[in-house]
């Protein structure tokens, strides 16, 4: 057994142990911490599967941002955490059997891959040079399956609309809570003063490099959102009221630009979301830049949660 396979076996064992403890541990807070660790371990598994783009996304969104959301939820619901009754033993055994069946089915499917493995990779590599991009995943996201990517951003905005709609009527247009994190600690302020500029450079780098190497608008936007949240949580800046025009403008800027370029494709190229020959890369970079800002704001506001206080003035 080579060192790499020893590492893989250890990694898988660790992922399964942490995943199981996420389910079994009693305290919700501990479960969320386990989940963040699970996300980070999973991103190492993605690197081992040679999918570095996915690894970055998993670490940033799956572990980091989802973990932040869940931690906030645990902190908010701590007072009403009653811990209802678990289901009885027969039902639990039946569930176990059901889960074992599902696992067995999936495992059989994994152990017996088809004779001829279907792949679109050669087709992607054939057409990629036309777009001027170097990263095949970015090529799929912005050229071959651009509609998916556009709709994904719309889903993000819809989720944000949904979260905002759950605010009580009196708080509509007001500021998100975030008070569960609020603690005026000099150490936190120190970090919030030093780290965000570095994070900004790194976020822009992630977005820019996505065209040729692993990275992209989403990973870069997540870094920017994290920096923004850090500044807000440290109390150096207030969370913006959701009624602010600039906020809403930034939120829709990315999808609107994407949509506009897509519609222009009907005029200048031959189809919706088609790029005119020779202009694909600059257009994609422009879309990615706008999307990075929109994603950063959307993620930040999603993590901040529904508005809780009415806007002052």
């Amino acid at each position: 057994m080579s060192i790499a396979s020893v590492f893989d076996v250890a990694l898988v064992a660790l992922i399964l142990a942490i995943g199981a403890s996420t389910i079994l541990v009693r305290k919700a807070f501990a479960a969320v911490v386990m989940f963040v660790v699970y996300g980070l371990l999973l991103s190492i598994a993605w690197v081992r599967l040679h999918a570095v783009d996915v690894a970055l996304t998993e670490a940033a969104i799956g572990g980091g941002m989802t973990g932040l959301l869940l931690l906030g939820a645990v902190a908010r619901s701590r007072s009403v955490n009653v811990g209802g009754p678990w289901i009885g033993r027969p039902a639990r055994l039946a569930t176990c059997a059901l889960c074992a069946l599902v696992v067995a089915g999936l495992a059989i499917a994994m152990l017996h891959p088809p004779e001829v493995i279907p792949t679109l990779a050669p087709t992607v590599m054939e057409s990629l040079p036309q777009s001027g991009l170097g990263n095949p995943v970015a090529g799929v996201l912005f050229v071959f399956r651009a509609l998916d990517t556009l709709l994904e951003k719309v889903v993000l905005l819809l989720a944000l609309l949904g979260v905002w709609s759950l605010a009580p009527d009196r708080a509509w247009g007001g500021m998100p809570g975030l008070h569960v994190y609020a603690r005026s600690d000099p150490t936190l302020i120190f970090l919030a003063q030093l780290l965000p500029p570095v994070g900004i450079v790194f976020g822009i780098y992630m977005c820019w490099v996505g065209a040729k190497d692993p990275g992209g608008a989403f990973q870069g936007g997540t870094v920017l959102a994290a920096m923004w949240l850090l500044v807000i949580v440290a109390g150096l800046q207030k969370a913006p009221a959701i009624g602010r025009l600039w906020l809403r403008g930034l939120l829709v800027a990315g999808p609107v630009l994407f949509l506009a370029i897509g519609l222009a494709g009907w005029v200048f190229a031959d189809a919706f979301l088609a790029y005119p020959a020779g202009y694909a890369k600059p257009l994609i970079v422009a879309v990615e830049a706008a999307l990075t800002l929109s994603i950063a704001v959307a993620l930040g506001m999603l993590a901040a949660g529904p508005p809780e206080r009415a806007q002052q003035q």
Binding site: D53, V54, L69, L70, G83, P85, T119, M125, L156, P306
Partner: protein
Amino acid sequence: MNAATLFGLCGAALVGIGLYGLITNPEPLRKILAFNLLGGGVFLLFGVIARRAAVAGLGGDPVPQAMVITAIVVAFAATAMAIALVQRLGDETGRASISSDSSGTGDGEEKS
């Protein structure tokens, strides 16, 4: 057994673990957590499929990889929405779990 198959089995097991948590734990927050765990397993299966479809010069088929990136983002959006719903439910009913004795939110409101 090669590395891809190993991670494939890991993904399958994670789906099972997540499904178990989703069914057995009555707390909505823990259900959301279990659902995300299950999702991580499904994504890993996609990664294995992508890895097996690798061609020369690439580590894997970029199409499933791009789909997983989209899926992670959509899962995040759904999680954010679900957490907001659970919190509103908690604010309205004063309870943070869906136990078998309460049939709906109206029921909970009367008690609290």
